[in-house]
């Protein structure tokens, strides 16, 4: 059974509050303390709900303690805080879900997140939280923040509108469960153990690489095989220790065969003829067989590393290229067999931008449809065929949309 979890507010002690869940896709409650809500739990079970406590989720579920998704707002000015680029700082659980998918294969992935105490929470970020998790193959344990919780309890019409849209978003993904089986598509691999002293840099590279709309594949050092490198144009080895001899050999073979290997200073020096093009201020780039090795000379800031990696690799290999996308982050997935794809587009601003969005999606695609949370059926979109890519002209994306592609 697929659970749709809801973190039941502790102060909603009246079992009658369960009426809110009648006819909704929510089928599972997470309680803080069952003993304090015994009557409610009993009624819930009679209503067909599964009841769990936060500390003992059902077997087969892997919980990610995530972040409240969205653009980080500054309380002082009620404006977006800036990230390292000067662009708004985006909080997303996408990278953590992708990582969990690799680290805990076969498990159902739940994201639990609540806003920080002083965080400004716009109601629409509840819809965003659903889309952020579900698009990456997980489920957000519904959590009603602050004012929305009070508003829903009081049956305030504005709050109930957000509640309804949030439930509609859950239904949207429930109706497209096959998408969750699609595999992430990326031509950049990130190889690490993503733990210990390597955790911060490696996971931040995932987070910030995604923020640049650079899709990637996560490769665990311990499970890396030659097959895992197939189809990749480049691999980053960000770890703060030299690779094992076997791993080094495998990654060098990848470069030898024509790939780009981007390595942290801990890899050790690299020798060879300088690769063509202008010298890079933070990389020593040498030819290696048919490929290249880029040795970082500075490797402190994961944002700089992820930006640099994209340039060393070149925008020529962009799988997703947006115009006027604002804070939209794409997640590119391929159906088994590779004849279909879905590019999820999550707008972390949770409000539509003022400019029309277009997106170039690399691949053998001949047609595209657009799915919006707000529409029951697909939306026709204008496309422009390019060599090995399809440019799609998109409608406004208030929170989430998906481009469904056919080869």
């Amino acid at each position: 059974m697929d659970f749709i979890p809801f973190e039941w507010p502790a102060e909603w002690t009246d079992p009658a509050a369960l009426d809110l869940l009648q006819g909704t896709p929510v089928n599972c409650l997470l309680l803080e303390d069952r003993s304090k809500l015994a009557a409610l739990a009993e009624r819930g079970e009679k209503q067909g709900l599964k009841i769990f406590t936060r500390n003992s989720p059902p077997a087969g579920v892997h919980i990610i303690k995530g972040v409240w998704p969205g653009i980080r707002m500054s309380r002082e000015q009620n404006t977006a805080s800036s990230g390292p680029t000067g662009a708004p700082w985006v909080d997303s659980n996408g990278w953590a879900l992708q990582l969990a998918r690799v680290q805990a294969p076969g498990k159902s992935l739940w994201v639990t997140a609540e806003p920080a105490k002083d965080q400004i929470v716009r109601p629409d970020t509840h819809v965003l939280a659903v889309a952020d998790a579900a698009s990456h193959g997980g489920a957000w344990a519904v959590y009603l923040a602050g004012d929305l919780r009070k508003g829903v309890a009081a049956r305030d019409s504005k709050a109930l509108d957000v509640w309804k849209r949030m439930l509609d978003a859950i239904r949207f993904f429930e109706q497209r469960k096959e998408w969750a089986a699609y595999e992430p598509h990326g031509i950049l691999g990130v190889v690490s153990d993503f733990s210990g002293g390597n955790e911060f840099m490696s996971t931040e590279i995932l987070n910030l690489t995604a923020r640049q709309n650079q899709p990637y594949q996560i490769l665990l050092k311990s499970k890396l095989t030659d097959a895992s490198l197939k189809g990749l144009e480049a691999v980053i080895y960000p770890d703060d220790e030299p690779p094992s001899e076997q791993l080094r050999k495998r990654l060098l073979a990848f470069a030898e065969a024509g790939g780009l290997l981007i390595v942290s200073p801990k890899w050790g020096d690299v020798t060879g003829e300088p690769a063509g093009g202008d010298p890079h201020p933070r990389f020593k780039v040498v030819k290696h067989g048919k490929g290249r090795i880029a040795l970082a000379t500075e490797f402190d800031d994961p944002f700089v590393v992820s930006c640099d990696a994209r340039i060393v690799m070149s925008h020529r290999h962009d799988l997703v290229r947006f115009w006027n996308a604002g804070s939209i982050v794409a997640y590119y997935t391929l159906a088994p067999g590779g004849k279909r794809a879905v590019v999820h587009m999550i707008n972390y601003a949770a409000r539509p931008g003022r400019d029309l969005i277009s997106c170039r999606i690399a691949g053998p695609w001949r047609s595209a449809r657009f799915w919006a949370l707000e529409k029951a059926g697909p939306v026709a979109v204008e496309t422009v065929r390019e060599r090995n890519a399809l440019e799609v002209h998109l409608p406004a994306i208030p929170v989430y949309g998906a481009v469904d592609l056919v080869a």
Binding site: D278, P281, H315, R316, N324, L356, R360
Partner: protein, 392 residues
């Protein structure tokens, strides 16, 4: 260019020649030359022969570029990820890549030794080719349009240079006595401004001269440049030129008059005129095959795509811009307070004062399509916008 002078000597000589006379007399005697106008309705097959014919009409490319290193300043204003609607950037506010490719090809055919495409893209020290790719251009196509084509991001020192180049302005300049630029503006025999025909929110119009505003590196002149040394990478835009809120990094001289107006409509046209006088343009190309009106980029309020279907080419930037203005339905002799200079000074007049050329249409030989036949009235569009604005 006299072959026995070095590039540095030539630039200094050009500046010195201007210094020798006062503003007014130079204005009246400033060069006009020949300006070619042509209709060109699309970036399709008609583009290359049209450009070739135009270059022939102004004396031929061979005389200008054979055996020379040519630097072409293109216009890629704003972020490459910001479009006007769904339109490709080259159809609205960037110089069209097709026009760039055709120009490069013709220069190669005319015997140019090396052709270097220059631009200072928004807020980055990434290679220019990478910025082009983000704009959905294929730089490999441009690189293969002639035997030796190079690209340089001029918004910083550059990947190989050791020092910036200095460009003194004739007569001490309107705003600055000297500009400090990427070496590529000095390391060339022929300098070309390949611009888009557009309105401009601050300067009224942006044509071959205003295109050169983007020659300035934001590592020195930008919002985020340090007080002392230039920053290694550019941060932000050229706000200080607009507002005068700060002086450039100390590698460059401060503005001549710290009490001058802190107003973009005063400052930007003067900076542009200075730059054109300091770094003379040998070939000005203004392409308006497809473009936009009401501003220079999608960030301006009320902008919309237009299809003027016209190209203007000349060896003098002031004259070329004057003819371009006339093609746009504007009066190049207009001064502050009249369209398109409602809130700014006329860059052409300021450049004329520095001896960079004439804006007097009576002194310019226009060849090819007569102006009236090529007319695409930005002025009329502007009049309607202004009228609508007054009606609220």
């Amino acid at each position: 260019m006299k072959p026995n002078l070095s590039r540095r000597e030539w630039i200094a000589a050009a500046a010195g020649a201007c210094l020798a006379r006062p503003f007014e007399s130079r204005a009246s005697n400033a060069p006009g030359g020949i300006v070619s106008v042509a209709k060109c309705k699309s970036y399709g097959p008609e583009l290359l022969p049209t450009l070739e014919r135009m270059f022939d009409q102004i004396g031929g490319l061979g005389k200008l570029v054979k055996g020379k290193t040519v630097a072409i300043k293109i216009n890629m204003t704003g972020s490459p990820t910001y479009r006007l609607g769904y339109k490709p950037l080259g159809d609205t506010h960037y110089t069209s890549p097709q026009v760039i490719g055709a120009t490069v090809h013709l220069m190669g055919k005319a015997g140019a030794k090396c052709i270097r495409l220059l631009e200072s893209p928004w807020n980055t020290a990434d290679p220019l080719e990478e910025v082009m790719l983000q704009a959905n251009w294929e730089p490999a196509v441009l690189a293969s349009a002639a035997p030796r084509v190079e690209f340089e991001n001029t918004n910083y020192l550059g990947p190989r240079a050791k020092t910036y180049s200095r460009f003194p302005v004739p007569k001490g300049g309107h705003m600055f006595r000297e500009y400090v630029l990427n070496h590529s503006y000095e390391d060339c025999d022929v300098f070309v401004s390949l611009a888009k025909m557009k309105d401009h929110a601050t300067a009224g119009i942006t044509l071959s001269m205003k295109n050169c505003f983007g020659c300035t590196p934001c590592t020195i002149y930008g919002d985020g440049s340090p007080v002392d040394e230039p920053s290694p990478t550019p941060r932000g835009g050229r706000g200080p030129f607009h507002s005068g809120n700060r002086q450039p990094a100390r590698i460059a001289p401060p503005e001549n008059d710290p009490k001058s107006p802190r107003e973009g409509g005063y400052r930007v046209p003067r900076v542009v005129a200075d730059l054109v006088a300091a770094r003379p343009i040998h070939l000005a190309i203004v392409e308006g095959v497809e473009s936009m009106a009401a501003g220079e980029g999608p960030w301006n309020r009320g902008v919309h795509p237009v299809s003027p279907g016209v190209i203007v080419v000349g060896t003098n930037p002031v004259a070329t811009d004057a003819v371009s203005m006339a093609v746009m339905g504007y009066d190049p002799m207009a001064d502050r307070g009249t369209p398109p200079f409602e809130t700014c000074d006329n860059t052409l007049r300021l450049a004329e004062e520095l001896g960079a050329g004439t804006r007097d249409l009576n002194r310019i030989e226009v060849v090819g399509t007569p102006i009236q036949e090529a007319l695409f009235s930005y002025a009329e569009l502007r009049r309607k916008r202004n009228l609508a604005a007054r009606r609220g």
